[in-house]
């Protein structure tokens, strides 16, 4: 040991207290189960106030449920994600690993009382959310034994790719070496047409407050007075 006197072994109880993560291969998933029905109770008691009775609320966050179809469950690709005009993306539209949902509820929800749920409650409320998305039936009981099967029904389970150059390692399938955008540094008479295509509309001029108050009152520039709308 190069550093005498520094650090100590963790006890098994300590590791147990903190090692709560659940991986996609379900490593870390504690044994237990919970029904959709029990989940509905938990949801209505501890979640619905923020996320809405059907997980549809966008009052404190994006809707959790919606946008997925029975067909998606079959293909494992959420079709709406391919429609550029589809408004918003729910949690269930994006979710590709069921472990993620379980783990996140277990570690972080309810938002104002994270880590207050029992293992059974986490199973149950996860089951309820999956049920809201039509992924499991009304009488389903989610457990460590059937999580892997449920994974096979996630609407977007085939929706992810790691074939890109933004991972600073080499151990992911398809990780690319070369960036996907290749620009050149043209210096003279470059082939662009410098025409303004997008600019804030005048009515939004003070949407971010009076910009004069967001700049130093000395220096090469001042902040634009946007306290009143209009005027340029």
């Amino acid at each position: 040991q190069g550093f005498p006197g520094i650090g100590r072994a963790a006890t098994p109880a300590e590791v147990k207290a903190w090692d709560i993560d659940v991986r996609p291969d379900l490593q870390g998933l504690p044994g237990g189960s919970g029904s959709v029905a029990r989940g509905q109770q938990v949801w209505e008691g501890k979640c619905a106030s923020c996320h809405g009775v059907f997980g549809e609320s966008n009052e404190v966050f994006n809707p959790l449920v919606g946008g997925t179809t029975a067909d998606d469950i079959r293909t494992g690709r959420v079709a709406n994600l391919q429609r550029p005009d589809y408004p918003g993306r729910t949690t269930l539209m994006k979710l590709s690993t069921v472990s993620t949902l379980w783990d996140y509820i277990n570690r972080a929800m309810p938002w104002n009382q994270p880590k207050s749920l029992s293992v059974e409650e986490v199973y149950a409320v996860t089951a309820y959310m999956l049920n809201l998305g039509g992924i499991v039936a009304d009488d389903f009981v989610l457990s460590d034994a059937n999580m892997a099967q449920v994974q096979q029904r996630l609407p977007n389970r085939n929706g992810m790719t790691t074939a890109h150059a933004l991972w600073p390692g080499r151990d992911l399938p398809g990780v690319a070496g070369a960036p996907d955008v290749k620009a050149a540094a043209c210096m003279r008479n470059c082939a662009v047409e410098p025409r303004v295509a997008s600019i804030l509309p005048d009515f939004a001029r003070n949407a971010h407050g009076n910009l004069a108050d967001q700049n130093r009152p000395v220096g090469p520039q001042r902040g634009a007075v946007t306290a009143t709308a209009a005027a340029t």
């Binding site: 550093f3 090692d19 996140y104 955008v181 090469p220």
Partner: protein, 402 residues
């Protein structure tokens, strides 16, 4: 262009009353030392604040505040103005009670106190941190008026801490099988992110407790956060309580539901982490007004998550012609680089842009080029060239070009 410019001129034939009549501070006795054991900025600097973007988030604990880049100099971000990003609020954690656990594919799981960690050999390095969602509001069209809101989820500090690899070695980590590491925070969200072992092995990833000479600020993870140079901020786990060595990535909430980039084919890119080469002109920039025609220094920031900035070019005609800017040394890896270029404004409309190239040869793309590959729904990793329109009135507007 503006009446303010007259301030410079001698207002009366004799001269400027600010010179002729000696100010109070030239004729009196000032304030004593240590009025503040920990000092604060001038009262005249009160406009320089971090700010929320109205309507961007529904709550203020799962939210973001933006650094006022338009008012900053050099590369160091004052810690009081560092951008914030919380998922379940910030805490002022008692460092005497904070612990770091190391477990997973290790010979002996370990626990370290802050006393322990601060005794280990440390390094101090300047690095930028940028939220993966920085400039995310601008994928489709202009959404916000100033560079505080377009680019302000960006800050840069001198971080001090222990290379993460040191404690992994102390625990006897299996670096052959353990090609991934989970970093986990101690706050309510207990933020989890997967870090590639290759980056940790390079010695670049730090268990940081110091920021700009003092301890981290509570909003930025006091007393311990992970520093993952070049990688988006969400991986710089705050209030770091645990790291686990493993043989596969974790697909945590913020790498499976958020911080995934939607591509035109409807697939999400997962584990996108690197912040690619990017730059922005900070003065003059959106929401500002030039006082007058004449000389200006165009100033801005450039950075790359892959290494050093090699070159920054600036255009004042919307990208048709470019000149190479001066780079302020030291140019450091995965750190902000300040650039500047002389410009005489003739009072006519102008479109100012900057374009950075890093030492891998990667050139910052135009919005059109980026959208050509990624569409407009990625949310994350928008590193496109920014355009500022200087109008005849002197007012500068955020614009996007065709």
């Amino acid at each position: 262009a503006s009446g303010l410019a007259a301030a410079g001129a001698a207002a009366q034939p004799q001269g400027d009353p600010n010179i002729l009549e000696l100010p109070e501070h030239t004729r009196g006795l000032g304030q004593p030392v240590v009025t503040d054991g920990y000092g604060k900025p001038s009262q005249y600097e009160r406009n320089v604040q971090r700010r929320q973007s109205p309507g961007l988030t529904q709550t203020r604990q799962a939210s973001v505040s933006f650094a006022p880049l338009q008012s900053l100099f050099g590369i160091v971000t004052p810690s009081g103005l560092h951008f914030e990003r919380h998922h379940q609020g910030w805490w002022d954690v008692d460092p005497g009670k904070h612990r770091l656990m190391v477990n997973g594919l290790v010979k002996t799981p370990k626990v370290f106190t802050m006393d322990d960690l601060m005794r280990l050999p440390s390094v101090s390095r300047f690095h930028f941190i940028e939220c993966g969602a920085n400039t995310g509001m601008e994928w489709g069209n202009v959404a916000v008026p100033t560079c505080q809101y377009t680019h302000g989820m960006l800050s840069c500090s001198e971080f001090t801490g222990v290379p993460l690899i040191t404690v992994l070695q102390m625990a006897g980590a299996d670096l052959k099988k353990g090609r991934f590491l989970l970093a986990e925070g101690a706050d309510g969200s207990s933020m989890t992110r997967t870090i590639p072992m290759a980056l940790i092995e390079s010695g670049e990833v730090l268990l940081a407790y110091g920021q700009n000479g003092e301890m981290l600020r509570p909003e930025n993870g006091y007393p311990l956060r992970l520093v993952v140079p070049g990688v988006q901020g969400v991986s710089w786990v705050k209030y770091l309580r645990r790291v686990e060595v493993g043989d596969q990535p974790w697909a945590s909430k913020d790498e499976a539901i958020h911080y995934v980039d939607l591509m035109p084919d409807g697939r999400h890119r997962q584990y996108t982490s690197i912040q690619e080469c990017k730059s922005v002109v900070t003065t003059p920039s959106g929401g500002q007004v030039l006082l007058d025609k004449g000389f200006y220094s165009i100033n801005g920031l450039a950075w790359s998550g892959r290494g050093k900035v090699a070159k920054v070019d600036v255009s004042v005609d919307g990208g048709r012609n470019w000149r190479s800017a001066r780079l302020q040394d030291p140019v450091m890896s995965k750190c902000l680089t300040r650039f500047s270029l002389d410009w005489v404004w003739d009072g006519k409309p102008a479109i100012i842009q900057s374009r950075a190239t890093d030492d891998t040869g990667y050139v910052q793309p135009t919005q059109r080029q980026l959208r050509g590959v990624r569409g407009t729904r990625s949310i994350y990793h928008n590193n496109a060239i920014q355009s500022w329109l200087v109008q005849e009135s002197g007012e500068v507007k955020n614009v996007q070009l065709a």
